[in-house]
Every structure is written in C-alpha cells, then in structure tokens.
Amino acid sequence: MNVAVIHNILLRLLRLRRLIGLALLTGMPAGVLFFLTFGNSEQDIRGFYEMLNITVLTIIALPVTALVLASAAFGEERNDQTLTFLVTKPLPRWHIALSMLTAATLATFAVGGIGIVAGWVVAAVAVGDATIGLNTTVGLVVASLGYSAVFVPLGLLVSRSTLTGLAFIFIWEFIIGASVTGVSTFSVFRTALSAYGDVGTVTIDAREALEGVLGNVIPGVGGAFAKVGVLLVLSLAFTTWVLRRRDLANE
C-alpha cells in the first residue's frame, strides 16, 4: 500500500462532476424517503426505507457507483495512458494492486456513504431509531469491497471496462444470479444483502422482498465478509499477476 498512490487515485476518481452525479444517484432514495415521511406511520416509513434500500440502493445505485469508480481506478490510467507513470515507479507490484483496491473501495464507500447517511438521517428522525441505518451501512461495506475486487482488475484488463462491467451486472448478477441457484451465492449484491438481512430488524414487507431477491442465499454477516475476503485475496493475486506478467500498454 502506498499513500501517495491512493491519494492520487482518490483525487482523480472523486472529480467534482462525477461526485455530484453519483451522489445524486445514491442520494435519490433518501430524497424520495423524505417526501414519504409526511403523513405515514412509523411502521410504514420503516417499510419504505427498507424497500428503497433493498431495491433502489443496493440493487441499482451501489453496483453502478462501484462499477463507475472501481473500473475507473485502473481504467482511466489505462485509457488516458498515464498508467506508464505508475508502473515505472519503484514499487512492488502488489503494492500497486493493493493501493488501487483500497482506493476503489474507499471511493465507493465514501460516495455510497453520502446517500446512505442522508437516508439514515431522514429515517432516524422520522422513526426515532438511531440504529436504523446500520444494516444498510454493513451492506455498503460488503458491496464496496466485493465490487472493487471484481471491477479493479477488470479496469486493468479490458479497455471498455465500464460497458463490460455493466454487462457483468446485468448478466451475472441479475439474470444468471436469479435463475441459477448455484450462482446466486457468488453474486455480489446478494452477498451484500445477506449481510444486510443479518443485522438489526427487518420489517415483514422488506423481509419478503429480501427473501425474493436472495433466493437460497442464507443471510449472515460472517459468511458475507468471508466471501468478499476470499474475493479480495483472489483479486489482489490476479491484479498483481497482470502487473507482473502482462503488457501494460497497447500497441
């Protein structure tokens, strides 16, 4: 890990325009929730909050945010041809890989965090329960780590990584993950939701939706973290291998 590398990548990833765009995306559920707090019962608000978190936030906004940021970590270096500067520095290759993974995770966590904190505040004030956003935050941590592990090497390997990543989300996460039982365990947002479902209380409506999405994946924080942990180790090893053995520029 290297502080200068991480700092530089974070500066680059969190450009103001992109930050605003992504913050609007992850903040959308909070905005919606704000209007739903008027005139609804606490139980209903809790239900809306959880449904928004599960459907809009975890299934759409977080994957997209993570995709944009994590694939850009190496992707922008590659496409802007600045990767040359980075790989001709006296750093062990695994330091570069780990720094990128860290930066991508931090960036995703920070941007996703904007939306989550906003929603958390709105919900906590409306319901009077300060712990209400805890499960979503745990889900965010799992999602940031998991998606970074997938998209960071993708950005290094593929030139149109955002599009490829989008295809990954649609095909792997949405279609195959929903229809093939064996695969759903390895779907990142299901892993995030399995952690979500294991923390704090979940309303009945949300519980149904959650089980619908999860299929046969059993909720569990420990399992979720174990899974992303393995994913991260694999990702780190693979990224390091690419940095050591493969061409780092096009023709």
């Binding site: 959308m28 919606v32 209007f35 739903l36 008027f38 449904m51 955002t162 989008l166």
Partner: protein
C-alpha cells in the same frame, strides 16, 4: 475524340468546381443523409450494422406475427368474429414497438450526437456553411424521420395487413378505419417527443455512445421506480406531482387515451392526472430538450 492516329494524355490535376452551390440548405441535407447512414450503420463495418438492423427486423417480425394472429383468427372456422376486442390492434402494437423503439432511440440519439463531438468532427462541420442551429436542425430531422419511420412503417404494414385479412374486404376495412391515419401518427409523435428529447439531452453531454444509451435506458427505469414509490407512499399535497417524473409513462397514457384503451393504470393516471397533463408534459420536455441541447452546442462550438 480519339481516332486511330491520335493519342491523348489527360491530366486534370485539380479541377475547380463551376457548378451551382447548394449553400446552407445543401449542408443541412448532407447532415441529414449522413445521420441516416450513421444510425443504420450504412457504409460502415458489419459490426456497426448488427444492432440497428436487429431492432428493425424485430419490429417487422412482430408485425408479421400480429397480422398472422389476425389471419388465423379470421379464417378459423370456429369462433369467427368472436371477441375481436381481444385481438391486438394498433394501440397494443404500440406497447410492443415502443419498447424496441426505446432501444432504437437510445442507439440513434447517441450515435447522432456523441461521435461528432468526441472525435472532433464538429471542427469540420462548423468550418463549412453551417452554424450550430442548422447543424442541430439537420440532426433533429434525421432523428425524427428515423424514429417516426420506426414507429409508422410497421404500423402501415400492419394496417394494410389487417385490411387484407379482414372479412369485410380490403377497401371496406380501409374506409371504415380512417381514424387510424391520424391516431397512429399522433401517438408516434408523442412517443418520439418524450423519448428522443431525453435521449438527445443525455447524448449532448456524455462522451461515450454506450454510456449515453445506458444512462437513458437506466434513467427511464429509475424514474418509473421512484415515481412508483412517491405515488404509493406520499401523503403530501404536492406528492402526486412526482408522478409526472415517470417520463416513460406519459406517451403510454396519451396513447391509451387516443385509442380509448383502459387496461393498465399508468403512473400519471394513478397520481390522478388526466391525459392532457401527460400531453403537456411531453411537449414541455421536448421544448426544454431543444433549448438545453442548443445551449450546450453553442457553448462548445
């Protein structure tokens, strides 16, 4: 010129052009023609033709299937003439075609607007007798004619097909269904106004074709999703106005109104708006899109 004993060596070098110049109008026409070629992938690598022609053939195949259903229904010995209202007609066909057209619009708008800007070709355009407004006019004509054709050509085939398989005979069917001639184009226009506006505004700002198309499709989806939450959950007096952000739903609502269909409750309807409002929103979105796009291009030109 050449007889047996003479030889002629012709070196024309650079020829000056003495003919008429078509001026700015010719330049706009060239932009339109080039727009067609770009969207349809003509005179480009085969890879570029796949998506547009896949969508076009999808539209035509579904027409054929619809006509087939009608033909089977009308020629079946049992149940002839029964429950004709269950058979899909013009309005229902819009349901199907509008989903394909949504993809086609995403592709067409992105292809028309993104590459010119990103590849720097605008520098060439604007060094010719062409200014921002005329350039955008050319693009708008290209987009409108492509997308409206995408809606209307299959519908025309559908209309002729329905007349051909109808029991009452071709001409009788035609004369009994004259209202189709304004209902279908009017509906297509509303679909175009909303879909194309949003797609063009996005394409005018994003630097990549894929990203522009993706954001357009994803944006339409998310707006519907959010509007649903608002309509269901909010108790505020202005909460229902959020029902209007489901842009994708407005043309559908207007269509049902024009064709007098009442099977699904669209989001604006659930929020308590009448079709006139949806029509109004569609027009406002269109005008807004024209203004924003024009502003953006004046800024970068």
């Amino acid at each position: 010129m050449v007889d047996g004993s003479d030889a002629v060596i012709v070196d024309r070098g650079y020829r000056h052009y003495e003919g008429e110049r078509t001026g700015s109008r010719g330049a706009v026409a060239a932009v339109v023609r080039e727009g067609y070629r770009r969207v349809l992938g003509l005179r480009r690598k085969a890879r570029r033709k796949v998506l547009p022609w896949f969508l076009i053939s999808l539209a035509l195949i579904t027409v054929a299937i619809f006509i087939g259903i009608h033909w089977v229904a009308s020629s079946a010995p049992i149940g002839r003439g029964e429950a004709p209202e269950l058979l899909p007609r013009y309005g229902e066909y819009f349901d199907l075609i509008s989903v394909i057209a949504l993809l086609f619009t995403a592709l067409a708008a992105a292809e028309l607007f993104v590459p010119d800007r990103v590849q720097g070709v605008l520098n060439v355009y604007f060094s010719r007798p062409l200014n921002t407004d005329r350039y955008l006019l050319g693009k708008l004509i290209a987009l409108a004619s492509l997308i409206l054709s995408f809606y209307l050509v299959p519908q025309l085939i559908f209309h002729i097909g329905l007349a051909a398989v109808d029991d009452s005979g071709f001409l009788t069917y035609m004369s009994e269904n004259l209202d189709v001639w304004w209902k279908v184009p009017a509906t297509a226009l509303v679909y175009f106004a909303v879909h194309a506006s949003v797609a063009v505004v996005i394409a005018a700002f994003l630097p990549r074709v894929g990203a522009a198309a993706g954001l357009f499709l994803g944006g339409m989806l998310i707006l519907n999703l959010l509007a649903g939450f608002f309509i269901e959950g909010t108790n505020l007096w202005f909460g229902r106005y959020f029902g209007l952000i489901a842009l994708e739903q407005h043309p559908r609502y207007v269509r049902d109104w024009i064709f007098d269909i009442d099977t699904i409750e669209h989001l604006p309807e659930r929020a308590g708006f009448d079709p006139w409002t949806s029509l109004g929103v569609s027009i406002i979105v269109f005008i807004g899109a024209v203004l924003v796009t024009r502003w953006q291009y004046r800024r970068i030109a």
